[in-house]
Symmetry: C2
Subunit: 267 residues, 2 copies
């Protein structure tokens, strides 16, 4: 098997590179086309209708690169767009909600699970419904954390202000004695040290990036779409705003240099 078509991954911005990082670690031989919609970022505070429209446009853009599978790395887009648009395409389209929900259901011991995300993700109740389908007896407690994305983008990953805001946002979840917390936004893994400190070491933090990569691997195997060439795949990065900033910030999320970033999109 040597299906050399790339896998497409999109996000509202830079955060989805955490998914690229895990995907490439798992399947280094695959070619990847990444699109970050940096001209219209963030999606979190925007309406379902608008996020669905943007998601369809992003999928069409990736399809022009003849991708064989698409991962919606953005939690907001996954939570509102996947059920509406995912079935319409001939290639598999995966989101991060289902894999995150599975990991959370597997990790919890007291069946009390917290979910944090953007306002639109939390409002969609997508994680709650996915977790309850897998673990019907589980209690799910959600909190939207709109300031986390700007804090990460400002680089305030572990300042006193960040700790204070995290303590405020997480207080209701701590009161519910959750033992597992789903990081329902691609930016949040960068706040892991602070979140762990605020919640205590016994709370398991679930990050969807690894889970969705495992799901993608399983589907590529099942459908005979793997690229089993021995040499490493090519990574291509596209953004809708100017590429300069993206390369610099992207390094933090990806863990290595991105190389060339090109401009693309309809906006």
């Amino acid at each position: 098997m040597a299906d050399q078509r790339p896998v497409g991954i999109f996000d509202s911005g830079v955060g989805g590179l955490t998914v690229v990082k895990e995907f490439v670690r798992l399947l280094p031989q695959e070619n990847v086309v990444y699109f970050g919609d940096t001209a219209r970022v963030p999606y979190g505070p925007k309406s379902q209708e608008t996020v669905i429209r943007f998601s369809i446009e992003n999928i069409l853009l990736l399809l022009r690169h003849r991708v064989k599978l698409i991962i919606i790395a953005c939690n907001t887009a996954s939570s509102v767009a996947l059920s509406t648009v995912g079935e319409n395409f001939r290639i598999p389209v995966l989101g991060v909600i289902q894999p995150g929900a599975q990991a959370a259901a597997a990790a919890t011991r007291n069946r009390r699970i917290g979910v944090i995300g953007t306002r639109t993700t939390v409002k969609s109740r997508a994680y709650e419904e996915a977790i309850r389908r897998i673990a019907p007896g589980a209690s799910v407690f959600s909190a939207s954390c709109p300031l986390f994305v700007p804090l990460v983008e400002e680089g305030w990953l572990d300042t006193p202000v960040t700790v204070q805001i995290a303590a405020d946002y997480l207080q209701p979840l701590r009161a519910e004695q959750i033992d597992t917390l789903v990081l329902g936004c691609t930016h949040y893994p960068l706040l892991k040290p602070v979140l762990q400190r605020v919640l205590g070491a016994e709370v398991v933090l679930v990050d969807s990036a690894q889970q969705v990569s495992l799901q993608a691997q399983a589907i590529l195997e099942q459908e005979c779409l793997l690229n089993d060439r021995a040499h490493p795949g090519q990574l291509q990065f596209f953004v809708s705003d100017e590429p300069d900033n993206f390369a610099a910030v992207g390094r933090q999320f990806l863990g290595f240099e991105l190389g060339k970033v090109e401009k693309a999109g309809y906006v």
Copy 2:
């Protein structure tokens, strides 16, 4: 004189309603068409090229409503787009930078002026250059405050976290002993109580909304474009994301109910 064509005002989102508020107070008989680009908000972290492109699209959208004058209420768009695009249109296009700079130059006693804004506004040096043209001997000190917009949108107008962040951002400006601070973003007037407390009562806060309205009035008079009908003008509101949220948040900025908000735009 009774030029009943509306005045067009645009912003990246809801913040420009502070300009509508001042404009309507000054010229209640004028018709106004407002456009908030809520599907692509914020402009502050985005590149000059992208903000210029969005601004041109917003101007074209307002021109379809046969406006007689346009106010760019967004500081970021004013700072990077006005000099590039303002001259291209047959109707006057005003930005908030020049009026804000004039007010700051008039207010300062020690000729040490601070400017706060988004990263793109500060990077453009538009306020610095405008102030130095008016008051060549003045010293201008700038600071970008990327967390202020999300704090305002979160409604955290006066929390301990807001005070702490304001203290951090303003510390370098306080050290320079500024006696005047330009609020170079339409969201910032909502933080006035905190900013005044952090800086001390003797520092003058300059808000461009009133200044740009006075400039618009002068131009409408000069060019015989005023609508001097006795009855109050009509206000029309358009946004590029779904209108529901906008009406609720907009009330805070405008000070009264918006009435109907419609969807518009090319995105």
